[in-house]
Point group: C2
Chain length 373, copies 2
């Protein structure tokens, strides 16, 4: 399939997620929301479409997407959900189900997730569960969603007792990343997205991390070429990891670097207080310190990672929740086994693996980071 | 694997559901809840177990299962949920999640569904979603669950606007059907289970339907040999259908015979007023009448099916919800496409298929069944 039409003859960059009958393309380019060719071939023409978004993103972008999807669907409806991580709950999910049932949706109805990670996670999970599974398409509009959360089929909601505890693996039929949407992104959101870009380099690709370090100024001022390269490279790395380990029984877990402590920060401060990317940035610095403490990583490399995270304008100082509260929250991490913590640690910049780890080691690192209340 | 131990040397009947890496055994026999060999090899010894049940079944059977599972699990906990279809909701599901998180469950924790279809559907769906998927085992204690709902991996909950609308395909690791639990089953529940036995014969196996017709008196007085044969034959037929069409893209849909109208009866009268099996019994009679109206089935065969359903003591008279309400409820059926009803119709006793069908035809059959309010 070549994605070229008469009016828009720029080719679209495509990254394939090779998962046999669940494989799909990630399309990356400027202005894709307005290009019918970016959404062709997803569903039969008489299938309905529901765009799930939030008020802010919907106001900016839903109009374009509705007009484009009318080329491919008999009916296109929109549901606006409240914005933010605090609303990524089972209760909000029920609003999607209710809307689908009231619209008379059937098994061929396609859900389009137009927004950031929260919208993508919830819409994907709703698609996984509605009538035991309907198709969905990720249309990420934040940097974080374009470089990470929209790819790979992890969907779900938070539980008051733990982040992303309830969910499903449900692959999208396509990911359409319109780089133009990044122009309207609030700076704080752009910076949060950079955390996942840095993470991708740190766990899997040292050369990419070098590039990130050099290009941070360009990324922060939203240079289009820099953003396109970052999105494409992250998607390519993630597609490869997901292809080899779709359900995270092995290597895919390295993509959770920074997330065990990051999730504890998000849950412990109340979902939405810290953005997910901010918590991951801070979590990476602490988990790198833990990698040093475990004798896996050189002090200089942890220092370099901390400088990159800081240069990205991400917060470096963890909230003072107290060591015990951190440990309690971290024990709910999905990597834990029989009550024992397991974390992604860096073996060098560009290489990571999962290690079991004692509470004492974590406590020592947290304490020296000054998290006691 | 042979399921024979020192004290209990009766062999256990085994039916295999052949689904490659998701394949599993259905074990059928008397007294299995007390036999450690029936539960061996499911999980590593340091994995936890949570038995999900209701107060009535838990009071009768949880003690045996706890004692048996202590042979295989480091810790065995029990959660009792409220009884009945009215509680098969997202809200009740959340109680399972909360319990798992409070217990510090991890990805290797095994959920055991001890009860009927409601417990099995909810526990299976909780297992599908908790941490994006943990193992579960079906331990069905009703005839309906042993012959039908515990096999095949359909899990889910009801929505006020439609039955089983939210769910997942998630196969159990094993099904352990202890025929001894049928001795304590209330008669109304036994009869409800017979509806799915009759359905299995009606859609897939005319010789089995002959046997059912002849053996109904034995089944109703709970003759152990008759019950064992019914459970084993139903499981074998369902295992074969599920093996060939796990996610119901084709033939598996025939197992929904009687269910389109049956679900409308359940939702329209308020979940729990009619038992699921009662509604399916009545639904089969009406859908057979529709099969006659469509010129697919002989009048005499529909009459014979009605006599069998009646002889099983199932209700034959559909509730007077009004034709419009029936049609409205039926349009939410998962087989509908683009607003058009699709239903399982009988081509002869022992053979069925899915047909698109006009509202007028359904309305005519409902009207002559006297459902106008």
């Amino acid at each position: 399939m070549t994605f070229v039409d008469g009016r828009h003859d720029r080719p679209i960059r495509t990254v394939r997620v090779g998962l046999a009958d669940r494989g799909y393309d990630i399309l990356i380019g400027e202005g894709l929301l307005a290009r019918p060719d970016a959404f062709q071939g997803i569903a039969p023409g008489d299938a309905g479409a529901l765009i799930v978004t939030n008020a802010i993103v919907g106001g900016l972008h839903a109009g374009h997407l509705i007009a484009t999807l009318r080329h491919h669907h008999a009916a296109v409806e929109v549901l606006e959900l409240p914005d933010g991580e605090a609303h990524k709950t089972i209760g909000t999910l029920d609003r999607i189900f209710e809307t689908l049932l009231r619209l008379g949706a059937d098994r061929r109805t396609v859900l389009y997730a137009l927004g950031g990670g929260v919208i993508g996670d919830m819409t994907g999970f709703a698609a996984a569960c509605f009538m035991r599974g309907v198709p969905f398409v990720q249309v990420p509009t934040t940097l974080l969603a374009q470089v990470d959360s929209s790819v790979g089929g992890k969907t779900g909601v938070n539980h008051p007792l733990g982040k992303n505890m309830i969910g499903a693996f449900h692959q999208p039929r396509r990911v359409v990343a319109d780089l133009g949407t990044l122009a309207t992104l609030p700076s704080r959101e752009l910076v949060a997205g950079l955390a996942e870009v840095v993470k991708t380099g740190a766990v899997a690709d040292a050369a990419f991390l070098d590039w990130i370090e050099a290009e941070l100024p360009g990324l922060l001022r939203r240079d289009p070429d820099a953003l396109e390269h970052a999105v494409a490279r992250c998607c390519r790395i993630k597609a490869e990891i997901v292809r080899d380990d779709e359900r995270e029984s092995g290597r895919r877990a390295i993509l959770n670097f920074g997330h065990t402590i990051g999730h504890a920060i998000e849950a412990g401060t109340g979902y939405g207080t810290w953005l997910h990317g901010e918590a991951v940035g801070c979590g990476m610095v602490l988990e790198a310190a833990l990698s040093v403490q475990m004798g896996l990583l050189g002090d200089d490399q942890a220092g370099r990672l901390e400088r990159i995270v800081g240069a990205a304008s991400l917060p470096l100082r963890a909230p003072a929740l107290g060591v015990d509260r951190y440990l309690q929250l971290m024990r709910h991490d999905k990597k834990s086994q029989a009550g024992r913590l397991r974390m992604v640690l860096l073996e060098r910049l560009g290489q990571a693996a999962v290690y079991p780890i004692d509470d004492d080691a974590v406590a020592a690192v947290l304490r020296s980071a000054g998290v006691e209340a």
